[in-house]
Every structure is written in C-alpha cells, then in structure tokens.
C-alpha cells in the first residue's frame, strides 16, 4: 500500500510538473511573440507625425501580418485613438495603465481551453511617452491544444496508476499468500511437528527463505530425534545399575545372610555405583566435547609421550586381563591438540582394546608419521565387530555385545567420546575389523612441524 501511495504521489507530481512545464512553454512562446508584435506596432506608430485613427489604421494595414482579437491605441492620457472594437473615450485597462507608466507588460490567462493573452507597450515619440499599444489575443486553438495535452498526460497517468494498482494487488496477494504459507508452517513447527516442510517453488527471496526454513526444520528434527534417542538411551543405561542396586539392597534387607555374602552384595552395590559415576562423568565429557572447541587449549605437542603415559597407566589392567601390550611409538609426530584430549582418545581406545580382547591376547599400539599426517593405530586380537555393527560403534550407548560390555563395566559412550574429540581437533577416525580376529582403530591428525629459531650470532 505504501508503494502504491508513493507511486501515486510521484505520478501526480509528474502530471502537475508536465502540465506546468507545457503551460510555461506556451506562456514563454506567447509572451515573446505578442510583445514583439506590440513593440513593432508601437515603433511604427511612434514614427508617425500625428496620432489619429486613420494614420494608425494605415500602419496596421502596412504591417499586415498582425494577428489579434483586439488592438487598442491610446494617447498618454489613456484616451482611445484607435480601437479595433470601435469603442471611444478612455481605456483604463490595468495593462494600459502599466504601459503608460513606461513598462512593457504581458498577462496570460488560461481557463477551460481558452487562452487570453494581453501585451501592452508604450509608444515613444521624441523620448516621451505619447501613448500605448494594447493587444489582446483570445486563442481557443492553442487553448484546446493545451487542454488536449493536459488531458492526455492525465489519461496516461491514470492508466499507469491503474496498471500499477493491479500489479501491486497481484504482487502483494501472491507475496502475502507465500508469506502466510511460511507463517503457518512456523506455527505447525511450533506445535511440535518437525517433519513439516514448506513448499515454495521459485527462485525469489521467499523461495530461498522457504528452503532455508526447511533446512532448519530438518536439522531441528534430526537434533530432536537425537535428543529423544539420547534421553531414552541414557535413562535405559542409568536404569540398569540402579535396578541392580535396588535388587541387591532389597536382598540384604529381606534375607538373612552371612557376613561374607552381605559383603559380596555390598561390594556389587559399590561397583554399580562406580559404574553410574563413570557414566555420569562420560556423559558430561561428551556434552563438553559437543560444545565449540576451545582453540586456546590446543597447542602443538608431540603425541608419543602422552600415549606412552596412557600405556603405562593401563598396563596394570592389561596384566590383570592377561593382555600383552606392544607399543611402537615414533617421536616425530607433532600435532595441534590439547594434551587432555589426546590422553582421552588414547585412553579410551587402549582401554577398549584391553576390555574387548581375549584372555592371553595382544594389543599393538603404533604411532607413525606419513608425510604430513600422524597416525595412531590400536590393534587388538579380540572377537572383532560384525560388519552390520561397524557403522554404529561410534554412536552413543551402542554396544556390540551388550552382556559383555556391561560385565566389563562399559557405558557405551567411550567410542562416541573418541570420535567427538577427534573431529573437534580436525582429525579422522576409522576402523577395520574382522570377526574372530580383532579390530584396528586408526586415528589421524595433521602434523605441525615446530620450527626452532636459531640464535643470531
């Protein structure tokens, strides 16, 4: 509506402006031609020795080309000497009075297709005003031309405005219809239907907005599904140790049992409580990893010392599980990562390799550099991962062998945490597994060589 009003005002302005300009053009043209004719007549009359009706008539006949509706010649008193309308006495038209005061004057009136133009100029004889020439033209031809011009400009403006109104109506109708579609879709999404899509074909801004909206909805839907899945999985995983604790504590309360059995039950309750605590810590860790990576924490470090520390830390667990650890670590692997992140990655992978290995098995840990990439490989001789499970092992709470995982105190979050940290640090993680032979996890990071500055001598 605002645009329509603006264009209406602009068209109105153009209409008025065109009319004014054309009027001014007519005015200027008329003014110069009529004053020229009046002055020429006044000059010719000024050359006469005596001013009388007959002499002035002769002058007008001699000029010949004069066109006027009325021509009046007066003396210096305003007394009429000649009048084409044949009136006598005094003529006190305002233009005559002005001319007798030694001024040229031109006046112009236009109304209803009629132009009334008057020019008056003094007659000089021997440097004295001896009278004036008053010339009036009553022009209907040019008036009608002007009228027709104004009418045409008005008609064109009117048609333009009507066209504009129709266009504005159609455009705003289509625009608002599409906008309403988006708004109603927003309403649907707000009510919780994240699968809803807005259909806005085309290539205009609203279509782009619609596509962005759909993309956002899709992401929202994915995020919502993940959240639901996470809540469901987390509650399920938390429920299991809690149920065990409840069962064990009920057994202690309800049954009379010897001290040894009670101690065993209480130890089990403690283990389950520890598992709950570890799970809570890991969930917190995962939540932290999903946040924006803190680049301030990352620094260029050599990987080998940190991994070596992990190996030493878990050697006790390996020994108790009768697993032999074989580590082959290259020192020249500088990468951009925080030491805590690298420790967490190595710890989870090595711990997994120990937990899911066979008794008397082997765990090989190697760190090598290939051109600009550092690769950490953790290879176990466990039962391997079935091909259909390979795609899911990095998902939260996913376990290949659920019974064994719980038995070993696993939470199903370790590999999810590893992948999250690796991706956060611009690395890549992959695995190859053969059922019955074992699994190889490979983590790669880009190398950042440290250039040591030489002291200037």
């Amino acid at each position: 509506m605002t645009y329509v009003v603006i264009t209406f005002v602009v068209l109105l302005f153009l209409n008025v402006y065109c009319s004014q300009v054309s009027m001014q053009l007519f005015y200027n043209n008329k003014e110069s031609s009529m004053l020229e004719k009046a002055q020429m007549t006044a000059n010719e009359i000024g050359n006469l020795d005596v001013l009388n009706n007959a002499a002035i008539e002769d002058v007008i006949d001699r000029i010949g080309s004069l066109t006027f509706t009325r021509l009046v010649v007066t003396d210096a008193n305003g007394r009429i000497i000649f009048d084409s309308d044949r009136s006598t006495g005094y003529a006190l038209f305002p233009q005559i009075v002005t001319a007798l005061e030694s001024n040229d004057v031109f006046t112009w009136h236009y109304r209803n297709g009629v132009m009334r133009s008057v020019a008056a100029t003094p007659i000089f004889q021997s440097d004295h005003i001896s009278g004036c020439v008053y010339m009036m033209e009553y022009d209907t031809e040019q008036g009608q031309l002007m009228d027709s011009l104004q009418r045409n400009i008005f008609t064109v403006s009117l048609l333009l405005e009507i066209g504009l109104l129709l266009f504005a109506y159609a455009f705003s109708h289509r625009y608002s219809r599409r906008l309403r579609k988006i708004m109603s879709s927003m309403q649907i999404i707000q009510e919780g239907d994240y699968t809803h899509k807005v259909d806005l074909p085309g290539r205009d801004e609203l279509s782009v907005l619609g596509a962005e909206f759909n993309d956002l909805t899709e992401r929202l839907n994915t995020s919502e599904n993940k959240r639901r899945q996470f809540v469901s999985d987390a509650s399920h995983e938390l429920k299991t140790p809690l149920a065990t604790i409840k069962l064990l504590s009920d057994s202690i309360l309800q049954n009379e049992m010897d001290t040894e059995t009670t101690r065993e039950f209480v130890t089990d309750i403690g283990n389950e409580a520890d598992r709950l605590t570890r799970m809570a810590h890991k969930l917190l860790s995962l939540t932290k990893n999903e946040g924006n990576p803190s680049e301030m924490e990352a620094e260029i470090i050599y990987m080998a010392p940190t991994i070596d520390r992990v190996v030493k830390m878990l050697s006790g667990l390996a020994e108790s599980n009768q697993i032999t650890i074989q580590a082959d670590l290259t020192n020249d692997c500088p990468v951009l990562i925080s030491e805590d992140d690298l420790y967490q990655i190595a710890f989870n992978l090595v711990e997994n390799g120990i937990k899911y290995n066979i008794s008397g098995g082997m765990l090989r840990i190697s760190l090598h550099r290939s051109q600009d990439m550092a690769a950490l490989r953790v290879s176990d001789t466990g039962m391997g991962i079935p091909p259909d499970a390979v795609g899911h092992v990095f998902e939260r709470f996913y376990r290949v062998d659920k019974a064994r995982s719980r038995q070993s105190g696993g939470s199903g979050l370790g590999l999810a945490i590893v992948r999250s940290i690796v991706e956060r640090n611009n690395g890549e993680i992959s695995l190859q597994s053969t059922v019955g032979k074992g699994t190889v996890f490979t983590v790669e990071f880009p190398c950042f060589d440290i250039v040591e500055e030489e002291d200037e001598i």
Binding site: G89, Y90, F93, P94, L100, R116
Partner: protein
C-alpha cells in the same frame, strides 16, 4: 427522527438568516473607487480598485464624497487625488451631476488626471442616478480643458471582448 427534523429546521433558519443578512448588506453598500497600490491583471480587474462602504453612514451625497476624498480605508488601495483636494460644489441637472473641486485637482495631468476623474465619476455613478459626471476645478483647467465629462460609455475599465467571445 425528531432530532433530524430539529436539525433540518435549524439549518433552514440559519440559511434564511444568512440570506436576510446578505440582502441588508447589498441594500446599504456603496462603492468608492481608488487605485490599486500594486497593479492587478486578472480578467475581472480594472485599473480602479473598489472599496465597499456602509452607505447608511452618509446622510447625503456631499457627506459621502467628503468621506471619499479622505482616502481609502484599505492599505492595498491608494488615493489618486493630490493632498488638499476639496469638493467646492455639486449640482445635479437632469442626467448630469456637476462637481467642482478645489484647484489642487488641476495640478494633475495626463494619465493621473484621467484615473482621478474616472475614480470620481465611477463612484458618483454608483451613488446617484446621474448618467453623466462633469468634473471641473474651481478656477484652473483640467488637462487644458474647462471640464471633463465622463459616463459609462466613455470609461472603458474592463476589456469586455472576452464576454463577446463567449468566455
């Protein structure tokens, strides 16, 4: 319904009151003619400026002319007469009103004299039923003549060609 009727009656009363007021004004008004301070060139404008006065304020023509010679009330009008012009005598004979002014009037000449005489004549034609106004000075001449006689036919104040052509 009653309200509408009341409103209509009130409107009719107002209209009739307004028309009574107008007719009273028309009946008593007189017009004094002077000159425009600034020239006006509209199709309905002449060189003379009309000033409407309350006619009931004057008991006779002489009193009206005395007031007229005192000058215009409006600042957009100017008096065409020289200072000190007085009416010496006035006399109406048949259709002609004879006016004699003091000699200050004969100080005027040319266009100024014509305008001054036309102003007097046009004013007097409206004030009396005379058809001719004969103006003279007490002892002096007006533009080299003893008197100037003006009437509606020899005073062309408006170019009436426009009406003849149908505007």
């Amino acid at each position: 319904m009653k309200q509408i009727t009341f409103l209509l009656i009130a409107l009719l009363l107002l209209l009739s009151l307004a028309s009574c007021s107008n007719s009273a004004t028309v009946e008593n008004q007189v017009i004094f003619y002077y000159q425009h301070a600034q020239p006006k060139y509209d199709v309905t404008d002449s060189a003379l400026a009309a000033e409407i006065q309350d006619g009931s304020a004057y008991s006779d023509l002489e009193e009206a002319l005395l007031s007229y010679l005192a000058g215009p009330a409006s600042s957009s009008h100017v008096s065409p007469f020289p200072a000190g012009v007085r009416l010496i005598s006035l006399e109406q004979d048949a259709n002609t009103l004879y006016l004699v002014f003091s000699d200050e009037l004969s100080e005027l000449s040319g266009l100024k004299l014509t305008i001054a005489c036309c102003c007097i004549a046009q004013t007097c034609l409206g004030l009396t039923d005379a058809e001719n106004i004969c103006i003279s000075a007490e002892t002096g001449l007006l533009g080299g003549e003893r008197s100037i006689t003006l009437n509606e036919s020899n005073m062309n104040l408006l170019d009436s060609t426009q009406q003849a052509n149908g505007e």
